[in-house]
């Protein structure tokens, strides 16, 4: 499959670094961008992405499709995603296992789902619709959460795996989110990893959280925590060598800081390769 991402560590490309990447062509195996940031009809941001796409594989990562919402699927949003997919021919397309909108109001945030049979049926149908519209498989990503719902009848890991098994999508496993949720809800991060069939995992995300409040907040605004590096190492042991992304979305540092984080992740990937050899 020529569409696959390289089995190495990419960087989440955000607006403050675009001109640096265009000017200096850093050695980065692939970039991921937020799809919605390129929904414009034209203009310099889209033109810049075209130029970057000419030199690097690109993954399109959506933050606004509201897959789990009980509102009708936003066909305008989906059409814009489809237009962007056609334009960029990305190596991967992903979205979040969450909801963001209800009764017409969008919260533009990744809100958690209850893990029920009803939610599973609903999300699976929506993932299938999206995949049919785009004409390709997508990946869905587990989100961080700060509360759980009493009506949940499944573990989060069960729910995530069931979505992939039933809808035929792949998984984007956010190792940081697994850690954050385990700490916030007192669940077992390693058991979560054990519940995921390795064949479903097509990408891993790593980011930093904020531990200053009553629970861990997934801010994407800090270096990857030592405990998350440990969990990442165990994830690689289970899943094998999987394309991995460093994400940083708030208090975005200099590009070199992201490259150092990526180099650290790359060393874990190489170590996994050495073990496997």
């Amino acid at each position: 499959m020529n569409r696959r991402l390289p089995n190495s560590v990419g960087i989440g490309l955000r607006a403050p670094h675009v001109s640096h990447v265009l000017a200096s062509h850093p050695s980065v195996p692939w970039f991921e961008v937020h799809s919605e940031n390129y929904f414009a009809d034209g203009g310099p941001a889209l033109a810049a992405l075209d130029r970057i796409r000419a030199d690097y594989p690109i993954s399109l990562h959506g933050v606004g499709l509201s897959l789990g919402s009980t509102d009708a699927l936003d066909t305008t949003h989906l059409a814009k995603l489809s237009r962007l997919v056609d334009r960029i021919d990305p190596a991967q397309v992903s979205e979040h296992l969450c909801w963001s909108s209800v009764t017409g109001r969008h919260f533009n945030d990744l809100l958690p789902l209850p893990y029920t049979r009803e939610a599973l049926d609903h999300v699976c149908a929506r993932v299938s619709t999206v995949q049919d519209c785009l004409g390709r498989e997508i990946l869905v990503e587990n989100v961080s959460s700060y509360l759980t719902f009493p009506e949940s009848t499944m573990m989060e890991s069960e729910f995530v795996v069931a979505v992939a098994m039933r809808s035929g999508c792949g998984l984007l496993v956010d190792v940081n989110n697994i850690y954050v949720n385990a700490r916030n809800h007192g669940s077992d991060a390693d058991a979560y990893l054990e519940a995921i069939p390795p064949a479903l995992v097509a990408e891993i995300h790593l980011a930093g959280f904020d531990a200053s409040g009553p629970c861990l907040i997934d801010t994407h605004g800090a270096p990857v925590a030592p405990e998350v590096w440990g969990l990442y190492e165990r994830a690689l042991r289970r899943f094998g060598r999987v394309p991995t992304l460093i994400e940083w979305d708030t208090h975005i540092p200099e590009f070199a800081v992201l490259q150092r984080e990526a180099a650290t992740a790359q060393s874990y990937l190489e170590a996994r390769l050495a073990v496997a050899a």
Binding site: D41, G43, P44, V63, S69, S101, T103, E118, G213
Partner: protein, 248 residues
């Protein structure tokens, strides 16, 4: 057991106003949601934020987000109604120019996202040359998709300019000036703001609203009695403000 719909509706209500499900955990989501809007609008309405200061700006954005919900999963397009909101925001009553500065900033933001130009001045001139002379006044023109025409009773452009990073020089803004007639549009090098003579502004506004050249000329002459059509038309075709003929 609540249905998924009930759960989402309840969660949304609790997030917005604090309800039966409200808790410190919902408050985390509330903080994230509102700070996302503050950051997103703060990145677009940079000068507005400088004019009023961060606490005022954030409070205004919170009120806006409650009054005019985001309806789109693309946060980049949220905020188009913020200028109108500011125009009637009671706490901004003594800053009557604020909404116009906001309109200018939104136009700059929207211009950067507009479709790329199609056609060329040469193609438009060639198309015009094919129109029989007596039918020229009946032609309608499409403006470049990035164009936005603004009129302000205040020196909106001057206020915007003195708040740009790197602005050096006298920051005094005189309010004893004629209205600002502006066009915001995107050229190859980026988004630009130009001050137009009132006649040119009336011409372009009428054409943008779908009027034909005769109606646009009437409006231009009404705004500026010695308006020179040929020169204005040539200039706005050459700089691509006028993009193509509309099919009548």
């Amino acid at each position: 057991m609540p249905s998924l719909r009930e759960r989402q509706t309840r969660f949304a209500n609790a997030l917005l106003q604090g309800g039966e499900d409200s808790s410190e955990h919902i408050a985390i989501y509330r903080n994230t949601v509102f700070s996302n809007y503050r950051n997103a609008l703060g990145a677009t309405f940079v000068v507005v934020k400088q004019l009023v200061g961060t606490p005022f700006f954030d409070t205004a954005v919170d009120a806006y987000a409650l009054a005019v919900p985001s309806t789109c999963g693309d946060l980049n397009v949220y905020g188009g109604d913020f200028p109108e909101f500011l125009a009637s925001y009671p706490h901004a009553g003594d800053l009557p120019y604020l909404a116009d500065v906001a309109r200018l900033e939104w136009a700059v933001d929207a211009a950067a996202r507009a479709a790329d130009p199609s056609g060329s001045p040469e193609a438009l001139l060639a198309a015009l040359a094919k129109v029989p002379a007596r039918q020229v006044v009946g032609q309608r023109f499409a403006l470049d998709p990035s164009c936005c025409l603004l009129r302000s009773a205040y020196p909106a452009l001057r206020i915007w300019q003195v708040h740009q990073p790197g602005f050096a020089g006298d920051v005094t803004v005189s309010f004893d000036v004629a209205p600002d007639y502006l066009v915001v549009r995107r050229e190859a090098g980026g988004v630009i703001i130009e001050r137009l003579p009132p006649g040119d502004h009336a011409l372009l506004r009428t054409l943008n609203d779908g009027g034909d050249l005769a109606a646009a000329l009437d409006a231009a002459v009404a705004a500026e009695p010695d308006f020179a059509l040929e020169m204005a038309l040539g200039a706005h075709i050459a700089n691509r403000t006028l993009a193509q003929l509309r099919s009548n």
